[in-house]
Subunit: 130 residues, 3 copies
């Protein structure tokens, strides 16, 4: 059973939940009253950090687990940690300015791409030896 | 194999799909024409119910399945049912007024937190017992 | 292990990532500057294609994998391919006009409904024989 990837998945969920609390705080700070989610660029940047992380969840979690199951648990978990690190940088950067989202974004998308390749290699290897 | 959690997952998807149909109905009722998803608070509340439920899908489904696989199927399934119940209350409340979303929200977030703890305990227990 | 469904899942992620790049291009083409995601109907249609596909990820991926694990890998994978096909049509249609999203939408929702039924049948069959 993939223990490392399971722990990294919980860490992902914990960080993602933390981002949701940042949106809740930003609603108050920038005075954007629910159900509205627009109206202030400062709020919208925090909102976009959370939403973009949600948008990437399938792109991250599906290859993460396929890589863990079909190739290697530890390799998947390490790339998962890099992904979370990129997302932390994306959050701190984007909260300051739109352009500052890019370094973190490229780190997490590189980790995502490697997980995709790892998953593909793992599936093909097991299939052909199966 | 986790049968109870599998059934509760299908129930989650069915309820989530029901919420999507409420958004479709609200587009007509409040005269918010696609591709717009803003412009009327009554519409936006229904839209936010659906969107917030989507936002919580990773936060719910990942711990739900880790709890089912690493700890206990029935415990995960019962907490999953509580989560769905909280989400039903969140929908009926938020549809009426922004403040009325809170009781259902706290029920579902408590169920989510317990699933997270259950998953963590399950992973650590199995790991340490080899 | 479900090899076909694993490959179809990677294909889903690849197509979904392609849609995200279409949103990035549309930000430039229709001059909608981040963090804004509204302000031009042409942009908003592409944005909605990506967002609606995200909205359907739980509705698609959960039954897809339950169908693959509890019923049959190849059946799930074939329906998954039909779902992707419907999503391609939804993208090309919706990019042109709001009404043209419907044929692709019905193809993907039919595939999703069949996966849901397949998952339910698979769970019940295994349970009762279990």
């Amino acid at each position: 059973m993939p223990y490392y990837t399971a722990i990294v998945s919980l860490l992902t969920v914990a960080f993602y939940f933390f981002l949701a609390t940042r949106v809740a705080v930003a609603h108050g700070k920038f005075n954007v009253r629910l159900p509205a989610t627009t109206g202030n660029p400062g709020f919208e940047r925090v909102f976009r950090v959370h939403m973009n992380t949600l948008e990437w969840m399938p792109t991250f979690l599906v290859p993460l687990w396929l890589c863990a199951i079909y190739l290697n648990d530890i390799a998947a978990a390490v790339l998962g940690l890099v992904w979370i690190g990129g997302r932390v940088l994306y959050f701190t950067g984007y909260s300051k300015a739109v352009e500052k989202r890019l370094p973190g974004f490229f780190i997490q998308s590189t980790a995502g791409a490697l997980l995709f390749v790892g998953a593909l290699v793992g599936i093909v290897l097991r299939w052909s030896s199966g």
